[in-house]
């Protein structure tokens, strides 16, 4: 099966006042049609920059310094800017945390969606409007025809986020990159959107990269999970494997610190130290200063250890079950 998205060795660097930082460091993963890949990690781990890099949307002072991004076999990194722009929005689309980054506040939903359709496809306004209506229905918006006539401010936050997702869906893209799209929403609204997104991947075959810092969300939504730490993917596998049998000490610590897995009131296992500064990472494994399993070996680059579909980048990972 050709992969909807195949990212190989993607590396993005920023030249900042405090020196060069590698925000995305040799990141590789792939997503098949109809599957949802969860990209998790703490603040600053490089999730968003990975998303932007996939779409070639990294801005100064950043630049993509290496790697390939294949969408249905086509390398986006090899495309001219003009061709890449055409592809965005049609073959790959992005949904942001703030739907107002996508929506124009002064246009009716229907007008702007129809306009988006017609940028990429030659069709009548009426047909475009109809396409927009279908897209709204797919994301579970009731009375979609009515909603098309509304302005963004007339919709609630959750509704607007659905519209943003629907807009991303207009051209039936092969891949959607969604960056924390439910983080700002209330839990009850979030769960509705998650349910729609799951259904959408299953029914339309769109491959989705879902960026989040919320482990609970990702464990109940994604098929596969990549865990990021300091710009690298430290562990990758099916959601079941990563959550139930994590092998990287960081993933173990992350999952262990979630309260719901412990008796109420019990002392929570905690990862010592604080999240790392990209500008001054230790040599070898970036998790070394906080890792309970660290040994002298860890001052050298950790190897990638693969068992089936589960891979981990660590000198001394937890035993595979």
């Amino acid at each position: 099966m050709t992969k909807a998205l195949d990212v190989r060795g993607l590396t993005t660097r920023f030249e900042t006042r405090s020196g060069d930082v590698t925000a995305v460091n040799n990141v590789s993963f792939s997503v098949e049609r109809g599957r949802i890949m969860g990209l998790v990690g703490e603040s600053g781990s490089g999730k968003s920059v990975t998303g932007f890099s996939i779409l070639g949307l990294v801005e100064e002072p950043g630049h993509i310094s290496g790697g390939e991004v294949l969408v249905e076999g086509q390398d986006l990194r090899a495309l001219k800017p003009e061709a890449l722009r055409k592809l965005r929005g049609s073959k790959v689309a992005m949904v942001f945390q703030d739907p107002m980054m996508t929506l124009n506040p002064v246009l009716r939903i229907g007008d702007q969606m129809a306009m988006a359709v017609r940028v990429h496809e030659n069709m009548s306004k009426r047909a475009a409007w109809e396409r927009a209506r279908e897209a709204l229905e797919i994301v579970g918006i009731p009375a979609a025809g009515e909603r098309l006539k509304a302005y963004p401010h007339q919709l609630s936050g959750g509704m607007r986020q659905r519209v943003a997702i629907a807009t991303a869906l207009l051209h039936r893209p092969a891949v959607i990159i969604a960056d924390e799209p439910t983080t700002a929403l209330d839990v009850s609204i979030q769960s509705q959107i998650l349910a729609e997104v799951r259904r959408l991947a299953d029914e339309t075959g769109t491959a989705i990269v879902w960026v989040t810092h919320d482990l609970a969300v990702i464990s109940s939504l994604a098929d596969d999970i990549c865990v990021m730490y300091a710009g690298r993917i430290v562990e990758r596998g099916t959601a079941e494997d990563v959550i139930a049998a994590p092998r990287h000490p960081y993933t173990v610590g992350l999952i262990g610190s979630v309260p719901s897995l412990h008796e109420p009131g019990a002392h929570l296992p905690q990862i010592p130290g604080s999240t790392p500064q990209l500008a001054n990472l230790p040599s070898g494994c970036p998790f070394r200063p906080r890792c309970p399993r660290a040994s002298d070996l860890c001052a050298t680059e950790p190897p990638l250890i693969e068992t089936g579909s589960h891979s981990v980048s660590c000198h001394r990972p937890m035993e595979a079950p």
């Binding site: 801005e59 306009m115 009850s188 979030q190 482990l215 109940s220 309260p259 929570l268 990862i271």
Partner: protein, 483 residues
Amino acid sequence: MNQPLLKIEGVHKRFTRKSGLVMQGIDRLTGRPSGSTVHALSDISLSVTEGEVLGLVGESGCGKSTLGRIISGIYTPSDGEVFLKGAPVARKRGNNVEKLTTKVQMIHQDPFASLNPRMKVGETIAEGPRIHGIVKANAVRARVRSLLQQVGLEAAYADRLPHQFSGGQRQRIAIARALAMEPELLVLDEAVASLDVSIQAQVLNLFMDLRRELGLTAIFISHDLSVVRHVCDRVAIMYLGRIVELASAEELYARPLHPYTKALFASIPKLGAGRGSFQPIEGRSLAAQPAEGLRLSSALSDGRTEMQNGAAAPETGGSRQRAGGMPPQRRRHRRDTENGGSMIEFSNRIAEINDILCAVNMLQWDARVMMPAGGAATRGQQIATLKAMARGLLLDGATEETAEAVLASNATERNRRAAEAVLSARKWHMSVPPELLKRQDENLDHRRACLGQGAGGRRFQPVPAAPFRNRDAGAANGRRHRL
């Protein structure tokens, strides 16, 4: 039976929103009645015994923070009363609220904005006790050192500035500052919400340790049900300003009785429960109904004008972060003589900031953010500024210094950008020329015709490839509107 430490009797809270000029314009435009009343709390009664931790849970906008602020004496209730050990916590003095006790201390979500960046941490902690004479002058230093140790920091940190600390450490400092007042009741409003999971565990452990050592009584506000389960003895579930269920944590989690509680529990994704393990609360999300006429929904103001029967949207986009722990604030309207327009001077009034945000959304190409000295800001700067404010970055007068400190430190790029926006925001004014407000009345189609034309500055482009409009437009002017 212990006498309750805190007793809340029949508390109601109504906010009357007097429309500013911008909102009046929008109200006219949309046919919404100007100056509406929000019933944020309805008939809340409960009591908390000494040593107990009570959780307050509910969706965004249900009134958790409002209740927290009433308990802390920051707001007074419209009806009803709040007593700490039998004495009222605050009283109304004309238009002001007078706090009657220092024994209730509140800890906010954002450890970053709540500490004065210019003040050494030790001074920040000592300030309250010194002013209120809680500790003798010669004992202050020792007290600060022991408080720092108590919250798991080194005593020597007393001489550092806040920007030298991480988010988790700052939250510890905020806790130390509250403890310095020897409070009988702590109100923690989303105190761990902005922390990364691994850091959140550290702060929760600290809270539980302190509780054991000091026998703390606390109100713990959170939207995270698993955190609440972990630290609370009793939990109140709130919905649209009411407490719909109140029970011991054990009881509530084992056997939720109220349909809303059940739906809420079912809708929360749980770690390790497997894929699709959550049950969305069906279409009932009030926000899911088609907009009635042109009544504006939550993001615009708070859409809660007619709250009876739950007929308005409880959901405000992004308001979880936004509403977290805001102190009472103010906004000023002023005549801007130079422009002949009306000017809104930004202060840190969050409720109104929703309005401003929406006004800017609606007036997009006409609203100008101006520096006092002249020089109109770019769209990107305006939006970044407003977002910074909407996200609650402007918490108090110290914010400006915080932002400067952030810039001086090696903060993350995101924080740095926010800081830059904040710095600008403090100095800017948004001015809307009066002829614009008139024009609004004419019609929306006219507004659409104006797209891409307005006066001066960078123009707002009609959507080309919609999903990337801002990204591409951002690329053109070299900035990204992300905070």
